[in-house]
Structure formats: C-alpha cells, structure tokens
Symmetry: C2
Subunit: 164 residues, 2 copies
DNA sequence: AATGCAATGTTATATTGTAACATTCATAAC
DNA sequence: GTTATGAATGTTACAATATAACATTGCATT
C-alpha cells in the first residue's frame, strides 16, 4: 500500500479546484527543462517513473511504484525503480520522506532548496513548504557549533487543517 | 556494520576528555529516574539494550544491537530489539535517526524536547542539539498553514568541525 | 565498423521491520 | 498460598525495503 490512500481520485477541474492532469503535466514539463539545464538525461523510463510519482500526488513507496510499473514494463525490478529514484533525487525532481520510506514529487525543482515537509498523521497528506528564515536559522545554529551544512531535512508530523 | 566506526574506542579519562564509562552510567541512572517518574518499567532487558546503545556512543543499527545482544542473551530475535527500541523511544530515552535507520541515546531525557541532529557525513558522528527558537519557528510556520504540530525532526547533514 | 560509456536487464541477496501466537513473569485480588 | 490478570518476553515465520554484481543494450564518438 501507499503511505496513504489520500486523494487517489481527484476532483475534476471545478472552479479553483486542483486540476490533477494539468498539475502532472506542469511537473513533467518543468522536469524536462530542469534536466536540460543540468545536462541530465530524462529518459522515457525515468520520465515515466516521475509521472507515476506525480499520479498519486502524495508520497509513494518504491515497491508500489514497482508494482505499477511492472504492469506495463516487462523487465521492471527493484533496481529499475531505485535507479530511477536516485536519478530523480539527484536532479532535484523528487524528495525522499525519510520517516516514511516514501518519495514525493517536488514542485519547486526549478530552484535549489532544502526539504521541509508537513506530514499529516491522519490523512497522510504531505506538503512541502519553503521558509528561507528557517533554513537560515538551521544553518546558523549548525555553524555556531562549527558544523558545515550540506543538506538539511525537516519533517513535521501532526494534523493538517482538515483533520484537526 | 554500524553507521560509522567513529570512536569505537574512546580515550581513557584524561583531563577534560570524554570519560565513556562515566557517561554511560550517567545515562543509565538518568534513564532509571525518568522511567520511575513516568511510571514505566526499565526491565533488565530494556536497560541492557539502552546500555548497548550508549556503549557505541554513536547511532547504532537495530541488527547490530541484535548481534551483540545475541552473544549474551539466548532468545534474542528481531522482535526483542524492536520492542526494546519502541519502549525506549516512547520513554524519550532514545531517538531514531530516520535518514540512517539508526538509534541514538538521548542525553536530555529529563525534559521534553524535539529531535534535532547534526550528522557528519565523513566521520559519522552525530550530535543532538536543542534550540528553542528553531523549534518555535517550525511550530509557527506550520501553524501559519493551519497545521497542528505533534512532533518535529530536523536532520542536518554536513561536516563536523574536525572533518572540514 | 570499432570503441567507450551510460542506461537498463537480470538474478541474487542483504537489510530493516512486523505479525501472530505461545510462554513466562510480576502484581494484586481472593 | 492460590488464582486471576495483564505486561513482558520467547519463538517462528514472513513482509517490506534496498543493494550487489554482472550481463546486455543503446547511443555517440572516432
Ligand atoms: Zn522540493
Ligand atoms: Zn490530514
Ligand atoms: Zn534527545
Ligand atoms: Zn566528522
């Protein structure tokens, strides 16, 4: 199972409502541009894995991706998925949610940023947030202890607005 | 293997230098008090697992603990270790380092606090730090998005002072 | 065509973590 | 002291996550 069943089906294109198809397409286009810029190759396989990640629009587990991919791709094996995930993470297109062993598409792959997430323990929704002040404070606190920061992850567990 | 070989052997009681035995004993005494206070039972098994965690004085993997424990404890199985780890985490005596699937003794188990860590990618040393301002900022950022925070973890990867 | 390298295929295995049920142990009630 | 109770541990089996190692394919350069 995925990390959550949340919103496996999305509302269809009402006014102001999340248009899932459009969202996925935007993510894929953005990914293509990002890879172009970085001189990285978004092969059909990698692109398809990224699309599958966005399909659920929520953190997805590697073996769920594998099961889905295997239905359309004969040779799919764990290495297939993990290689694609490694590539996508290196390219900044996907984040790993460590506390869940799950992977989430990044909607800000156009600029460098750190991984900060709000994880709802009730509905399993996850949202990425950016707060430069927070990132800077973490950096500063680390430097004050003589530590040089390469990467930081923040995972906040709790209840989203609609689950409280 | 453990997360790192770092400091498997510690310097012995020089002036101002980390005295490992004393440090472990302090942690165990503190743990006993904490369990007393919380009305939780620090059984010999749980106490021994906590001691093994402190022995390395660095994050340790569950199956490394298991291998060590098995040498002195006949019936040791995965469940043995994971149950002890669950208990110790609930009691606030141990933190899980999500990015490493590893467990670290907490030296501040006497008061409630969140898990903030600096992880050196070179020597594998990990230090826990506390910064109320940081915890508060995370809380505030989450609340601003209508999110109710139960728990937060911060893992900062980089180079410690001596590894730069 | 020959070479080299990146990507993928393929098989096997390592690592991490749970489920389920039996047994033992400590405590309190009788 | 015996018995009832629930917590803790023993025991076996298995699920879930991830990597190693080597073969093959595809593609670009020479
Ligand atoms: Zn992102
Ligand atoms: Zn929710
Ligand atoms: Zn702590
Ligand atoms: Zn270091």
């Amino acid at each position: 199972m995925g990390v959550g069943m949340a919103k496996a089906t999305k509302k269809k294109t009402a006014a102001g409502v999340h248009d899932h198809r459009r969202c996925v397409n935007r993510a894929l286009s953005s990914a293509e541009r990002a890879c172009e810029t970085q001189g990285k190759r978004l092969t059909p396989l990698r692109r398809r894995v990224l699309e599958l990640i966005w399909d659920g629009h929520a953190p997805v587990k590697a073996y769920d991706l594998l099961r889905t991919l295997a239905q359309e791709h004969a040779g799919a094996a764990p290495a297939t998925i993990y290689r694609a995930l490694d590539f996508l993470q290196d390219a900044g297109l996907v984040h790993r949610i460590n506390s869940q062993n799950a992977y989430l598409g990044c909607n800000a792959s156009d600029h460098p940023h750190v991984g900060h997430f709000l994880l709802c323990t009730s509905c399993s929704n996850v949202v990425e947030f950016e707060n430069d002040g927070l990132a800077a404070l973490i950096d500063e606190q680390a430097r004050a202890q003589g530590f040089h920061v390469d990467r930081q992850t923040v995972e906040v567990m709790g209840l989203c607005r609609s689950c409280q």
